[in-house]
Symmetry: C2
Subunit: 500 residues, 2 copies
């Protein structure tokens, strides 16, 4: 910023939101495009964020009785084909392994060789390959419920990719469970959605709308798909994750049967649910500003950075020592059952330049220590959510006693900002004209509109405006009305929006 009040990221959100997103990622060093088509490199700052999200999710999964396991990367084509809708949903974006070695051709070039009898698809999701195991493992009602999760990479060949939002290779978790009754499976589907929502709102500070996907948008092969949708700063919806009730579709395709208590053979009821590194994209687009990334404290790659300010001919050694001592103290502060991650940046760079690097990387708190602070046993504290020059003076004691609360305040503030935006940019719309007008403006937001599932105009709306039904909210009150597109009766409003 400096004297000219320029911001650190160019273009700004206002100028070009899509390009701003790319520049925030670049400036924060979270990730980058790799030369491998559609694949990204997740750099340490981005991967640390993913690790924190993973830890929180993994703990919740285990607390609710799920165990981790690992299944093959490759799915034989014949397995994928067992569920017709499913394979159709993924056929257009599958990486296919056809050979198992390389050989020198007559011209001396290395070429694929050793053709496989059956092509292998790199998993786009694992229902069919995990279903194969389930069909062997499950025999009796005593083997149910079976509740597993897998942390893995998947591949969906996307033609237009965007860091964290849409890439060919994706890191994710996929839960897969089998149950003796429909009720239990439905309950599981709901429970996992609730866990996702809790992590999203409490840890990522992202308010979301819980909903059900329309028939058109649900997972290929599922009975119903639940989802949670967030609003980005440009008003677009981001689908953050899904939880599918698969009914008996996949258990019939993969032959997952069990003998019930009466000795009768039954098909199991299954579910699957997943979130990906897309959650990082959601964090970026929900919280960041024109100075770069802002990380919610509960999952921040680091909570505090300490920057020594050394004047010309200043005593570098003693200031750095003081900073290291401070780091030790702050690192022992209890923050939600863990300790704080603190960095000291003692690189040979101008202090102002270092400060701006950490602002762009989104660290919630920045502490600056110069000779004055050291003498007075004080520090200068800056919050990422405030103006970069807004200084707070804290005594050494206050640093350890107050940081945890200050971080909680930042966490709350980020959630409140996003929640305010979600509320103010969501509008009830009752006529077709109003709808078209709303979505033709810049950064429109969400529209709550009456909906009758029995129609086909969704495609036209998508063509005209790039707008789709994002979800049928689970927690909105029922309310009778008329769908403005079909003039049919409706029992509930749904969310229409542009989306990522």
């Amino acid at each position: 910023m400096g004297k000219t009040q320029k911001v650190a990221i160019s273009p700004t959100r206002e100028e070009d939101y899509a390009e701003w997103y790319q520049q925030v990622i670049k400036a924060s060093d979270l990730a980058e495009h790799s030369p491998v088509r559609g694949c990204m490199v997740i750099k340490p700052w981005g991967y640390r964020l993913w690790e924190k999200i993973k830890e929180s999710l993994d703990k919740k999964f285990k607390e609710t009785g799920h165990e981790n396991a690992y299944f093959p990367l490759f799915i034989p084509l014949s397995y994928l084909q067992k569920e017709a809708e499913h394979v159709e949903g993924f056929a257009k974006e599958c990486a296919v392994v056809t050979h198992h070695k390389l050989e020198k051709s007559s011209s001396g070039e290395l070429v694929p060789s050793g053709e496989l009898e059956e092509p292998l698809v790199v998993r786009p999701t694992s229902e069919m390959i995990i279903g194969e195991s389930f069909s062997r493992w499950i025999e009796s009602y005593r083997d149910l419920p079976l509740k597993l999760n897998q942390w893995a990479n998947i591949v969906r060949w996307e033609m237009r990719t965007r860091l964290f939002l849409r890439t060919a290779e994706i890191l994710w978790q996929e839960g897969h469970t089998a149950h003796a009754t429909k009720e239990e499976a439905v309950e599981e589907t709901n429970q996992m959605l609730d866990i996702y929502v809790e992590i999203s709102e409490k840890l990522l500070a992202i308010p979301v709308i819980k909903g059900q996907k329309s028939e058109r948008e649900k997972f290929p092969g599922a009975d119903t798909t639940l989802c949670f949708e967030a609003m980005m700063q440009d008003g677009k919806a981001l689908q953050m994750g899904t939880s599918h009730f698969l009914g008996q579709n996949f258990s019939k395709a993969a032959d997952i049967t069990f003998t019930d208590q009466e000795g009768k053979l039954q098909h199991a009821w299954t579910t699957s649910w997943g979130v990906t590194t897309r959650l990082i994209g959601a964090i970026i687009m929900t919280h960041s500003d024109d100075n770069g990334l802002i990380l919610p404290p509960r999952v921040a790659s680091a909570h505090v950075v300490i920057i020594p300010f050394i004047p010309k001919n200043g005593d570098k050694e003693s200031i750095c020592e003081y900073c290291e001592k401070l780091k030790q103290q702050i690192s022992s502060v209890n923050y939600h059952g863990s300790t704080l991650d603190v960095k000291v940046d003692d690189r040979d760079l101008r202090s102002g330049e270092k400060a701006w690097q950490w602002i762009k990387k989104g660290v919630p708190l920045r502490i600056e220590v110069g000779p004055k602070e050291m003498e007075a046993n004080k520090v200068s504290l800056f919050k990422r959510t405030e103006d970069p020059k807004q200084r707070h003076e804290l005594s050494e004691k206050e640093v350890t006693s107050k940081l945890s609360d200050i971080l909680d305040d930042i966490q709350k503030e980020l959630f409140a900002r996003a929640k305010g935006r979600l509320n103010s940019q969501t509008k009830e719309i009752n006529s077709k004209e109003e709808f078209y007008e709303y979505f033709k403006q810049k950064n429109p937001g969400f529209a709550l509109v009456h909906y009758n599932p029995d129609h086909s105009f969704e495609e036209k709306i998508q063509q005209d405006l790039g707008v789709t039904v994002r979800c049928i909210p689970l927690e909105k009150k029922k309310e009778k009305g008329i769908c403005p597109f079909s003039n049919q009766e409706s029992s509930q409003r749904v969310i229409y929006a542009k989306s990522y």
Copy 2:
């Protein structure tokens, strides 16, 4: 075992070691072969073990200044080819992606479609794809050292697979670092070997020999490969992991250069190092007995199982309540900075059957509680390393105060047993005749033999006996002698053995 003194695993180690290994895995429910050629399914009990090993390694990596990141699964063929030895080493076992979708053929069958312009190899290791990033990220000596690690899956198409020891898809970690000087890179290579050895000996309770690979056995493209080798119960060597000093070979192939302090352009010095789920194979083959798996307490999937013994017409509810209370108490016991993992097995099965299942699964401690124990506020404790019937009586108080020490004793005992075996089955051999005799007996062990690297008889020894140079030990004293095969001078004995 029961009355007939039969053991739980058939065949025994003595009868058929290779088949015993498979049966231990099956009986302990660690993993299984999947229908996908060469790929395994890691079941929850096995994956939990991997998670514990991962946590320990990851902590050490971070403590020594490494950060995690994630690089693409696919390597364009042109990248892999940049290092000639390297690509030659892996060409015969590469899974190759050649298409990016599936389409219905004229006969209605789904077939690969959308051929890629350049085939993609599923990473067998990531030197070349990470090298591409390093070449862009590293500009100045200020950017060095760069020390990254990645937890990932790799694929090496093996024709003969064995659970955990040799599979087509492998879970592993791969560290990749770049340094300004040769000395630093060599130091890094040694440091990571030392970390592996520490984890192996302290946590997995597996004594190992630190060594260097012979020219014939080193990593394709490396200057030197360090390794650590353990002896399995059948006397064969298992290579547990490797740490490579890559010299400037890969930095030249991938063009990783930096400007040094004098402004001169230099090639960086790089290293790479990795361990895989093979460590689980090592645990199984080092510690298990004819009753199944024995898990070293420091990484055990669970430390204690509590089994309620309910007599006919007994008060099931109050015994199970007592067991749950006990579980809460034991779960809070501090064990090396963490808490104990405790399971209560209250399934509707005969108690004896349950006990045997947990013996086969290798849980270090089994606690049985019946009406007698409950009345007296006592428990019956059984150690997995002792005879299954060897009972210890502990008061409720002693359970919480003593379990941590008891587990440490088991950990020590397992290491001591393995160390004793390694020592007693390692023999110094000085003549060719003695060597051939030694390796023609059943389960021979290791031979310490003088060695001159300048010879070609290694291939003949491998053909005759299936024996190779496992490593040139780093910590054996230098000693002059004569290589019995070439009659050339030797400065050190090396380890010859059969191996996995």
